[in-house]
């Protein structure tokens, strides 16, 4: 096997009239990796996936699979397999015939087809359902059939287009684990498209966040969550507080003091090299802020605030806190074992010294 990425695409562009659906997207995906493309609807992620599958021909750019340029190859000559959002099971065929379709098209011996179908039914845990019609199966079962059918030819890359969006919430979480299990067990290389950031976070080795036809950031789930490259990403992958500020002093290893509306904030380290005078925007997740009684105000990065709202969700309490005119969202995890506050209570906010910093000029 050649070194380097299994699947690589560079500068992919697709225009529809004067709308650019995909605007110069490049990425490389390694063998055995699950990479998600997430973004709001209309960001071009499905168009991108359909280009990888061969259903849409890019206006420019190249797709290379195992060192071979497949940009111009039709879907039936690519070693990719797609699971469609609506599964696209053939309604006029039994489940077994659906799964064995690709093998029959290739005129494999009947016994081999039957054996492989049995094997695949076992892999997706649908033993004994081969003689059903697709419309006799539940949504989750149909999803499994679609997966089995896509896996029948041992594709080099599995393409999943919003595979869980037609399932209800609990089933979605189950199938998510199932897909991850299959991917691990069979060492699958998967390109996964979803609009659900949580789904992407839990399932992916790496995530590419797309917006308006471009990739804004590629990284592991924790990189994307903790160190989002842009304000858009920070908001897309979770609830976030932004604090505007100006660097007033910078020290060693990225340490800095930032003047904000809440007062001066000491940062222990930041990824970006900061200099005095830089305009910055701090990204602070709600669970990174801690609350303390108002009398514990002494100490660094502490400010007084007043609880404006408290929302109990079971796993956490989400507070809206007003601090000197700025509204902050604060999550208090495991409320059973922590001191909770009510609306109108005065509190001390303890801001983290390791907030992620965006320079203002890149914060779009």
């Amino acid at each position: 096997m050649p070194e380097g990425p299994l699947l690589q695409f560079t500068g992919l562009v697709k225009r529809y009239g004067n709308v650019t659906a995909v605007d110069g997207v490049s990425a490389a995906i390694s063998q055995g990796e699950l990479v998600s493309f997430v973004g709001p609807s209309g960001c071009g992620k499905t168009t991108l996936l359909r280009m990888l599958g061969g259903f849409i021909r890019p206006d420019s750019g190249r797709i290379v699979l195992e060192g071979t340029d497949i940009t111009a190859e039709p879907p039936n000559r690519r070693a990719t397999a797609m699971v469609f959002q609506n599964y696209a099971l053939f309604p006029h065929m039994y489940v077994a015939d659906n799964i064995g379709y690709a093998l029959r098209i290739r005129r494999r011996p009947r016994a081999e087809v039957a054996r492989r179908v049995e094997e695949l039914l076992r892999v997706v845990r649908l033993e004994g359902l081969g003689s059903r019609r697709p419309d006799q199966l539940s949504g989750g079962q149909q999803q499994r059939v679609a997966l089995a059918r896509a896996l029948s030819l041992h594709p080099k890359v599995l393409l999943l287009d919003e595979p869980l969006s037609n399932l209800d919430a609990n089933l979605r979480i189950m199938m998510r684990a199932e897909i991850k299990r299959l991917q691990r067990e069979l060492q699958l290389t998967v390109v996964y498209v979803t609009h659900d950031q949580e789904e992407a976070m839990t399932i992916s080795d790496r995530i590419a966040v797309m917006r308006a036809g471009r990739i804004q950031q590629v990284g592991t789930p924790s990189e994307i969550y903790e160190r989002p490259a842009t304000e858009f990403i920070a908001q897309f992958v979770g609830v976030v507080n932004f604090l505007e500020g100006e660097v007033v002093a910078s020290g060693e290893a990225g340490a800095a003091t930032v003047r904000t509306a809440l007062g001066p904030l000491a940062l222990r380290k930041s990824l970006a090299p900061l200099a005095a005078g830089d305009r910055v925007r701090l990204v602070i997740r709600p669970e990174a802020i801690r609350l303390a009684p108002p009398e514990e105000i002494a100490g660094p990065n502490r400010v007084l605030g007043k609880v404006e709202s408290a929302m109990y969700t079971g796993a956490l309490v989400r507070y809206g806190v007003d601090a000197g005119g700025s509204g902050l969202t604060v999550d208090l995890p495991d409320p059973r074992h922590a001191r909770t506050y009510g609306e109108g209570d005065r509190v001390t906010l303890i801001l983290p010294p390791d907030a992620h910093v965006l320079l203002s000029d890149e914060a779009t």
Binding site: A21, R50, F84, Q85, I105
Partner: protein
């Protein structure tokens, strides 16, 4: 269900209103069911009765004579052979067009579609007229090449029928193909199937019910067709024209005509039953989660070359007759004296008959649409007892050949209590009850989409039944109304088989007049009136289209045939 707060006084008023509504609904149902019985069932039953009528009481002798006389029973076998051949060819060609238009290169989609639909605006027998001009014994082809070929007989009739029925067949198949989830074909190709394999293993099996439906429709149309076999059949006997000749011709035999009519009706009704009960609900074509980025695939040569060839040849076959008729209208005598002339337009009979046709078609269109939509409403919302029987009766109008309706109307309305012969209304009614199924079906399917809670909300707010119907139901059903109107209008303009029995001196319809002229060999004048008729239909369609554009209603393509 909406829960209503009921106080004593309010409750009484409301109950009274509900009672009034129920009465109104019942009265409406009663009127419409009676109309169906009088204008659809009664004439057909009379024809049936006539076929068993002997000099004294009922007899089977007429049928015995039918089966013992080769000329008679050959008309049955010929009609069946014709219908089968026409059906196979039309569906194959219709599929070819529909496949190219829905899957082919973007550039050719619009032109192919327009040409496939073009015969809709023309009376179907203009293809007959064109064929006579081109390929008749003294036609252009034989004049130019000095040959003595004849298009009369099988080739002419089949060709003319295929072209005439192509638009409806094409529309049905196109509809099935566009509503087929594209992901299914994509999925097959993703799994390694080439385009021919996708077509064979996925597309065709999935649209099979739709193809069957289209086949049944064409079969009914073909067997009932009167004009093309009459004009081009030569000496071959066919059911519809023979029945006509036995009513108006030298060989006057009303009972034998009735027997032929029975054989016209039986296959159509059988097919209608099959369609109604066996095919109902059988479909794979539901659009689910249609992906936004569906675009034209590159078609393989293996498919593109034969399909394109087929379409191009057919386009020629459709366009050529239009050209020929246009030429025929403006030349002295095509092939013999090619001088340009306007003489054929000089007869005032021509434009007068076109105007009569227009008048009749407008009456029929409006009445049919009102009747169909109202009946749909009463059937769906009114909880009429025996709804399925009434619905079946009303829809079966489509399956009854015009020839049968024509003869039935002569038998039924030529004497009191309902004497209509010689009036405009006998013609209008014959159309209303035959073409209503389109409005009815459109109305029923539209109503199925309209949640009854919308009506209940209106009633809750104090609106009476009539107000609710007018303000809430009608606006929502306007598409069904328009579909019924447009379909009936267009079909009525060019319809021939029933009305040819019902016209009277001074009440000439263009379709009948053109047919008579063509049969008598006055091809120039026949062409000229055809051209005027196409012009009028085109004009009306344009007006409707503009109205539709302005108001946002889809007019063409909403109804099913």
């Amino acid at each position: 269900m909406a829960v209503r707060a009921v106080t004593l006084g309010e409750g009484l008023g409301e109950r009274l209103r509900a009672l009034a509504n129920a009465y109104l609904m019942s009265a409406l149902a009663l009127v419409m069911i009676s109309a169906l019985l009088v204008f659809l069932v009664y004439p057909v039953v009379l024809v049936l009765y006539k076929s068993f009528e002997g000099d004294s009481g009922l007899t089977l002798r007429n049928y015995a004579r039918f089966f013992s006389t080769p000329y008679y029973y050959r008309s049955l076998t010929n009609s069946l052979i014709l219908a089968t051949t026409t059906t196979l060819l039309t569906v194959a060609i219709g599929f070819g067009f529909a496949y190219m238009v829905t899957r082919g290169p973007r550039l050719i989609r619009m032109p192919f579609r327009l040409v496939a639909l073009l015969p809709l605006v023309a009376p179907p027998y203009i293809f007959g007229i064109a064929l006579i001009i081109l390929g008749g014994r003294r036609g252009l082809f034989n004049q130019v090449f000095g040959t003595d070929l004849s298009l009369y007989g099988w080739p002419g009739v089949i060709f003319a029928q295929v072209v005439s029925f192509l638009p409806l067949c094409y529309l049905m198949i196109e509809n099935v193909l566009t509503s087929l989830d594209q992901n299914l074909e994509d999925s097959a190709s993703d799994l390694g199937a080439g385009q021919v394999q996708v077509l064979r293993t996925v597309t065709l099996p999935l649209i099979a019910p739709g193809l069957l439906r289209a086949s049944l429709l064409v079969f009914i149309l073909s067997i009932a067709d009167f004009a093309n076999p009459a004009l081009l059949g030569g000496r071959l006997p066919f059911l519809a024209p023979d029945a006509f000749l036995m009513v108006v011709g030298a060989e006057y035999n009303l009972r034998m005509a009735a027997v032929l009519c029975v054989f016209l009706v039986v296959p159509s009704i059988v097919i209608f039953l099959v369609h109604h009960y066996c095919l109902a609900g059988k479909t794979y074509t539901t659009i689910t989660g249609r992906s936004g980025a569906v675009e034209a695939r590159r078609m393989t040569r293996l498919l593109q070359v034969p399909f394109t060839l087929l379409c191009v040849v057919m386009c020629g076959a459709i366009l050529l007759p239009f050209g020929v008729v246009l030429m025929g209208a403006f030349t002295e005598l095509v092939g013999i004296n090619n001088a340009l002339t306007l003489d054929h337009f000089k007869t005032s009979m021509g434009i007068r008959s076109v105007m009569t046709s227009l008048q009749v078609a407008i009456y029929a269109g409006v009445l049919t649409a009102i009747f169909g939509v109202l009946l749909a409403y009463v059937l769906v919302r009114g909880r009429v007892p025996g709804r399925s029987i009434v619905e079946f009766l009303a829809l079966s109008g489509f399956a009854i050949p015009g020839t049968v309706v024509g003869i039935g109307y002569i038998l039924a309305f030529n004497q009191p209590p309902i004497y209509l012969t010689g009036t405009l209304w006998i013609i209008v009614f014959s159309m209303v009850f035959r073409y209503m199924p389109v409005a009815l079906e459109a109305g029923i399917s539209k109503l199925a989409q309209i949640d009854i809670s919308i009506e209940e909300a209106s009633a809750d707010l104090g609106a009476s039944f009539l107000t609710t119907f007018r303000r809430v139901v009608l606006p929502l059903m306007i598409t069904a109304f328009m579909a019924g109107l447009v379909y009936t209008f267009m079909t009525s303009m060019i319809s021939l088989s029933a009305v040819i029995f019902l016209v009277s001196p001074g009440l000439d319809l263009a379709s009948v007049y053109i047919f008579q002229l063509a049969q008598a060999g006055h091809l120039g004048i026949a062409s000229a009136i055809s051209v005027q008729m196409i012009g009028v239909v085109f004009l009306c369609l344009t007006v409707l289209w503009v109205i539709a554009r302005r108001t946002g209603f889809r007019v063409i393509g909403t109804g099913k045939a």
